[in-house]
Symmetry: C5
């Protein structure tokens, strides 16, 4: 899983049936200093995340599992809202 | 999932049976400022996308699910046509 | 899926049983201007591709599906021979 | 699988049910000279790893297998604590 | 699949049960000029590979298939020992 920030939404009327009813959230991966790090992707929300929130996201089969849409075209999902990040470095 | 732009097509007469009947669309991944970002790939179309359209694409098992060809050699599929991208940044 | 060029072969006598009988083709990924782009990989041939041919290759479960070796150690396969690439760019 | 170092933890009260009960460890991939190499990720612990320990981590379905949570949203897991790394180079 | 070189081993007493009995080989990916290319990873050996040998390795479900440990936490495996690499370039 990775840390990300919800930075926007995508609207698509013509889409695969399995995406209907799922909020398509643009999620920007972050490093653990909360800096943008990597390419943003579209993740379906499964925990009620809002714009600007720090989230945990997962990809692949794990994302379909989180969305409880096992045979869907989903391959990224938001699965947690971060309360706290504690990093110890040497 | 990711945002992409359909920039072309590939024709291959000699191909795996499971690709027969699927339109092979060259899809260029974009960032959320709609700039080219990353390597183009071949995705099968599942929503009637045309050249130049802004689309949502998915990869892996999710792509086979979208194409309803679960045992196929497909590993990327177009699953939505973008109406709107709303990005909020700090 | 991606576009690639067959640039060589690998011979391995001691190998996993599931690879026996499959031609191991060194496949160089290309961009859509047919330039080398990315790391070459070993793909099993499923459509009779020859050295120097422009091919379509796929990865992961899709590759095992194409080879009809569902429980094998294959994770890349050539699944088409390119006739034509048409790219429209703005 | 890869070598990593546990450098922190993430706390998320609102999260996917399948993550409940799993320690979310921030794991920094290392190269084999134990230098930081690549993006840190969140892995669930399955072997009792502590902060600062050198670990083996795995990703994808392998991670769900290690956590014995086959239908979960887990896609990275710590699966070993390194005793020794022996590297021979020409 | 990819070409790699076995450059070392990892020892971990405390590890996931499914890794018990598997030799954990540090495998350095190579390009087809046999130069180091990419991040080394830990692959389980399935063909009796030794230190310094040129090998074929695979990742993901393919690796669990090769190791015949389908529900394990393995996600990389050595599946062949290279006899010969023939590369034709224009």
């Amino acid at each position: 899983m990775q840390i990300g920030k919800v930075i926007g939404t995508v609207v698509a009327t013509r889409k695969d049936d399995s995406l209907v009813g799922s909020k398509l959230m643009i999620t920007q991966p972050l490093n653990f200093k909360s800096e943008f790090d990597g390419k943003p992707l579209i993740a379906v929300d499964t925990v009620g995340a809002g714009i600007g929130e720090l989230v945990i996201f997962t990809e692949g089969t794990a994302a379909r599992n989180a969305a409880k849409k096992y045979d869907s075209s989903i391959n990224a999902a938001i699965v947690g809202i971060v309360d706290n990040i504690d990093v110890w470095e040497d």
